[in-house]
Symmetry: C2
Subunit: 189 residues, 2 copies
């Protein structure tokens, strides 16, 4: 099993916009990971086509190219960190769409057995707690080993400086703690 010194964490932002607060959280996570662990990001979420069973040949190798890249990125990572906004009380549609592809075919789902942590942020007061909860449920159905932690950043518009650095210290500390658990081996109880 991977040790913290060799852990690669795949960061996925549930928001597609370039200046997304959730992307900035991933940037902060890259700095806050334990020594030796590193974060890579998957930045082609927006290229994944709508899931249509008619376009799904049934094996990963025949799926659309952006889907294969997404699944390979998950498969090659030791851990996954998803930072999500909340849209209409739930997870962003395009993030869910990517996860829908990842689950097909079931036996080739790269999330199965993968340790995953979920965080979220919104400009409102609640820090995407509904989106996080739904996402944890969905990931559990994928067979992922989902950290039973909720970490939301409310009022995200005030949590970063002009260079995009996370300056909300309480969230920063909580994120560092969560990343220690995510990178740790074996899984914390």
């Amino acid at each position: 099993m991977a040790t913290p010194e060799s852990v690669t964490v795949l960061g996925i932002s549930g928001s597609l916009r370039a200046g997304s607060h959730n992307r900035k959280i991933l940037r902060a996570a890259a700095e806050l990971l334990p020594p030796g662990a590193r974060l890579v990001t998957f930045d082609r979420l927006g290229d994944i086509p709508p899931y249509n069973e008619d376009d799904d040949a049934g094996t990963t190798g025949q799926q659309p190219e952006a889907v294969r890249e997404f699944k390979n990125a998950i498969a090659e990572a030791d851990r996954v960190l998803i930072a999500t906004p909340e849209y209409n009380g739930s997870i962003p549609g395009q993030l869910k769409n990517a996860l829908d592809w990842a689950s097909r075919p079931r036996a080739e789902d790269p999330l199965r057995g993968k340790r995953v942590a979920v965080v979220g942020s919104t400009n409102g007061l609640f820090g995407a707690v509904w989106a996080q909860a739904e996402l944890r449920k969905i990931l559990g159905i994928h067979g992922a080993e989902v950290l039973d932690r909720e970490l939301g950043l409310p009022l995200a518009m005030d949590a970063f400086d002009e260079e995009g650095n996370l300056v909300e210290d309480g969230f920063r500390d909580a994120l560092r703690d969560l990343l220690e658990d995510l990178a740790a081996s074996p899984v914390p109880a």
Copy 2:
């Protein structure tokens, strides 16, 4: 307010595949609506691009063409009927993605105040009950007047004949009842 005799119901299938059971449910619904009410379908769900705030100019008029068409179809209908499968314990990503677009900008959301019913089907035993529940929650946040009804078709692969006709009589009767409530004016308690 619309009377049943002049009610137009917009049917939306949460599955994109051509032979989808949920599409077949919409076809059955077209026959089971009360006299005078009619069903039209929105068939371009797969053309809606991933929601990205950077691509959202802030008014419906500037949104991508398939999004405008989706929102106009909702706005022009008196009622909406969504038939959804369940993917990974929740609603299909592309259906959620379309709803994410519809909610922007909030003041122009055509679902606000619109009466909407949700049904679902799966090949499994549970008839998409989780997807239906999450969808009702999401629609409530849109401000829709969501019928507080659950109607799932389990074992959908056995519920249609070779021509795609709904032959599961219990579900057929329940769907007829639901459509009466959906088309009725005023809203049933």
